[in-house]
């Protein structure tokens, strides 16, 4: 285990350039960052989002004509799991004030704020409560909490990092609420990294002008999720949690208001009608669609269910064509390929290096730019390491961290990452890591405003499934802040709407019928059935032996 002898030889080149680089780092000198014009050039040429192939206009729905990645377009041009004519909506199995679809950071924050406002909540989640990308976010959560910073700079960094394509009301809401979110989490008992006097430890990150990244070890998201989940469990009288029970279709009423959703118990394969005065979609991202075949850092359930259901009901999207590739996914060892190495590693001062141990980019560019620079170094310059399994890798010089901040910093600040590599015989406080960009985040999604409202009354959305906040590129630490800020906002807004008095009319699935008719008219042949709920990783050989499934598909066609 550990690095092969050949790779250990290559590491010597990294070690050879390290003393000179360390001296520069101690003086506060960095490899120069790109200008806005230079960023545009490298993105255009090397970022997967900017490539033409693998994209096409969508043929149906509110965003008809919008050019999207093939995987997303075909998932939106899909038909329902249900046959609407066979569904009896007159006897709901559940009735509640607020139905929350998704049990991650946004959904759970929404549930707590809605409960605070005195309404009854059902939170339904596809896997276990807390099985979500929130849990996996490592590096931190942005909030302008230090005296050197303010919501103004949070706004500026965010909108500049998003190349000025962000939806401005959402950015302003985020910058405004972020410190409130941190104070809320602190009062719930989250263990932030702090100095002995209680001051939050805030760090730089890619695209930051001020130190704004707050964290809890290198498992910030996991700590947030544990605390929120524990708190939701304390509110059992108001919050009912249904696990392994995803929503598969929205229900509207005759006036076009959202009236709940149809749930699917994945274990018993039963469908249930959940009638709700307000519904919040917080289903997370789409990494498990594996756009362009990239490995991904996402949770097993990240299959874009919420966007699909909302799109079918007539809710359009914002920036849905944009996907974030995290610049530093694991390239070696093979068992960890695709897994995220938090940006915090670079925030703590680690350099990104080519095969000769040379720096070729500023390590803290916005993520899309950083990714494009790594891809360029591999494809155009040709100075990437080739791993034993034939993958590209560039060095991330993690041993610099202990040298810069003192022995033991890696273990203390990156405990989970340390363990993960130690399992495979690599001590990242002594040896650098091999990295390459990996599919990380759904930048765009369901269109909302700053109160998390969609175009359908009574339908709200929050978190990674929404679009606009990050524009076409998200900064580190804005995703965790997104789920808390907008999770809280959606819960409060939905409760306000319910408390204002909601009269639901007769329930209907006519929007599904209408959308499927549109598919036929647009000539979409053999539409897939979505949401797909979970990815299928069976090998071709296994799939070819699944005779019943093959037969089922033939009959459907």
């Amino acid at each position: 285990m550990g690095y092969t002898p050949e790779m250990k030889e290559l590491i010597k080149r990294v070690e050879a350039t390290r003393p000179a680089r360390m001296e520069k780092a101690r003086r506060g000198e960095n490899f120069p960052a790109l200008s806005l014009e230079e960023r545009a050039v490298v993105l255009e040429k090397f970022h997967p989002d900017y490539q033409k192939e693998g994209r096409r206009p969508i043929r149906t729905g509110p965003d008809k004509g919008l050019v999207l990645p093939e995987e997303i377009a075909s998932m939106l041009e899909s038909r329902s799991m249900l046959r609407p004519e066979n569904v009896d909506l007159s006897n709901p199995d559940f009735e509640t004030d607020v139905l929350i679809v998704g049990g991650g950071g946004a959904g759970t924050s929404a549930a707590l704020l809605a409960a605070d406002a005195g309404v009854r909540v059902i939170m339904t989640t596809k896997l276990r409560h807390g099985d979500a990308n929130t849990m996996m976010a490592e590096g931190g959560i942005q909030a302008a909490v230090q005296e050197s910073d303010s919501p103004y700079y949070h706004y500026m960094d965010t909108i500049g990092g998003g190349h000025f394509t962000n939806q401005s009301d959402l950015v302003a809401a985020l910058a405004h609420d972020a410190p409130l979110s941190i104070a809320w989490l602190e009062s719930l008992g989250m263990m932030f990294n702090k100095f002995p006097d209680g001051r939050l430890i805030s760090r730089h990150f890619g695209g930051s002008s001020r130190k704004r990244m707050n964290s809890a070890g290198d498992m910030t998201g996991a700590e947030i999720m544990r605390v929120l989940r524990d708190e939701a469990r304390n509110r059992g009288d108001q919050i009912t949690i249904l696990e392994f029970c995803p929503a598969v279709e929205l229900i509207l009423d005759e006036d076009g208001k959202c009236a709940g959703a149809i749930l699917y118990n994945m274990e018993t394969r039963e469908f249930f009608i959940a009638k709700a005065k307000a519904t919040i979609i917080a289903t997370g991202g789409n990494g498990r669609l594996h756009i362009k075949g990239f490995a991904c850092t996402n949770h097993y359930g990240a299959t874009m269910d919420g966007v699909v259901m909302c799109y079918r009901a007539g809710v359009g999207s914002t920036c849905l064509f944009s996907t974030q590739y995290h610049p530093t996914g694991v390239a070696y060892p093979e068992q960890n390929v695709g897994l995220l190495i938090t940006e915090k590693v670079r925030g703590l001062g680690a350099h990104v290096l080519n095969i000769d141990g040379e720096q070729f980019c500023f390590p803290l560019e916005p993520r899309d730019v950083e990714s494009a620079e790594l891809i360029k170094e591999a494809l155009e310059v040709g100075k990437a390491v080739i791993t034993p399994t034939g993958r590209y890798g560039l060095w991330l010089d993690s041993p610099m961290i202990d040298l810069l901040h003192g022995e033991g910093t890696v273990r203390r600040e990156l405990p989970a990452k340390f363990i993960q590599f130690e399992r495979h015989g690599i001590d990242i406080s002594k040896e650098p890591m091999l990295v390459y960009p990996t599919l990380h985040y759904q930048n765009g999604g369901i269109a909302i405003n700053a109160d998390c409202e969609t175009t359908i009354p009574g339908l709200y959305s929050a978190g990674e499934c929404t679009g606009g906040l990050h524009g076409e590129n998200r900064l580190m630490g804005n995703s965790l802040q997104d789920v808390i800020t907008f999770g809280r906002r959606s819960g409060a807004a939905a409760a306000r709407y319910v408390n204002g008095g909601v009269e639901l009319k007769k329930l209907t699935l006519d929007h599904v019928v209408k959308y499927e008719k549109e598919l036929v008219e647009a000539g979409v042949e053999n539409p897939m059935v979505a949401p797909i709920l979970l990815p299928d990783y069976s090998t071709d050989e296994v799939a070819s032996r699944r005779l019943l499934e093959i037969q089922g598909k033939l009959e459907a066609e």
């Binding site: 506060g28 806005l36 896997l127 276990r128 099985d131 849990m135 996996m136 909490v145 230090q146 005296e147 050197s148 910073d149 303010s150 919501p151 103004y152 700079y153 500026m156 909108i159 500049g160 401005s168 009301d169 405004h176 410190p179 104070a183 602190e186 009062s187 719930l188 008992g189 989250m190 263990m191 932030f192 702090k194 209680g198 001051r199 939050l200 430890i201 730089h204 002008s209 070890g217 996991a222 544990r226 524990d230 304390n234 994945m266 075949g293 490995a295 949770h299 097993y300 068992q335 897994l339 001062g349 405990p415 989970a416 363990i419 979970l534 299928d536 990783y537 069976s538 090998t539 296994v542």
Partner: protein, 268 residues
């Protein structure tokens, strides 16, 4: 019918495969090894994690898979190796398959959890004792620590709590992913990971000092200090935004938090 490759069969020369997404392939040069999934034999490529190996064998997870990155606690797996009486524990997404391992996943294990109102709790160990009296059923057998796939010193934090040291328990238990393996092995029937969660929240809320600068910032925001500033940014022209973005001053890397303040900054 078993379909594993027998060593006597001629190996087919495969063309080079490229792994896409998370679908496992038989990597070039890798051979297959037998593993026993809940007692049943499957041939899987060596070097894969248990999770990917099970998917390679044809399993589709409903329970027992989560983040696939070693942090969510959905895939704890217990296994034995040939000729070794010991039970081994690991996360399916992090543990590499070994020849002839016998494995089973334990995706859920029931454990008692006490409800409480965090705002009413003083950071007092007596409160933990009263919510979880079973704490004192611990006989220090250490099975919890041996079962932890994250290497957490579970007996260490349970001991710290019995000693009334909430802070120490919070620190020791920080890497807990709440998979429940400790509770599954406990002869005192303790729900260690729930007790630790309570300790961490007490610690984070009432023992760690609060961030005073954060409280001040919250006050400023609630007083509306930044409202006009943020409003004007929302209507600002692209050109002006870009200009201001370029002009931002970057806080020096090595300046400790709370020490660097730009002079005459109207936006703080």
């Amino acid at each position: 019918m078993s379909h594993h490759h027998d060593s006597k069969e001629p190996k087919q020369k495969k063309k080079v495969q490229v792994a896409t997404g998370d679908r496992a392939i038989l990597p070039e040069g890798a051979t297959t090894i037998p593993v026993y999934i809940m007692g049943k034999r499957y041939e899987v490529p060596e070097t894969l994690t248990i999770m990917k190996a099970m998917e390679y064998a044809g399993f589709k997870f409903l329970r027992g898979a989560g983040c696939r990155g070693g942090i969510c606690g959905a895939c704890p797996t217990v296994y034995r190796k040939p000729g070794d009486y010991k039970l081994h524990f690991g996360l399916a997404c992090q543990t590499v398959v070994e020849p002839d391992m016998y494995l089973a996943q334990i995706p859920f294990y029931p454990a008692n959890r006490a409800a409480y109102k965090i705002e009413d709790l003083e950071p007092n160990p007596e409160i933990i004792f009263s919510l979880y009296p079973e704490l004192f059923r611990c006989v220090a057998c250490n099975n919890c620590t041996k079962a932890c796939p994250m290497g957490v010193d579970v007996l260490g934090y349970i001991s710290a709590l019995k000693q009334g040291d909430i802070a120490r328990a919070a620190e020791i238990s920080f890497d807990c992913i709440q998979c429940g393996m400790c509770a599954s092995r406990c002869m005192g029937e303790l729900p260690q990971y729930h007790i630790a969660q309570l300790a961490r929240r007490m610690y984070g809320r009432a023992i760690m000092p609060r961030a005073r600068h954060l409280a001040k910032r919250v006050e400023e925001i609630e007083s509306g200090k930044y409202d006009e500033m943020l409003k004007s940014l929302q209507t600002m022209s692209h050109g002006e935004l870009e200009k201001r973005y370029k002009e931002r001053e970057r806080e020096p890397d090595m300046a400790p938090n709370g020490t660097w303040l730009p002079a005459n900054d109207p936006y703080l």
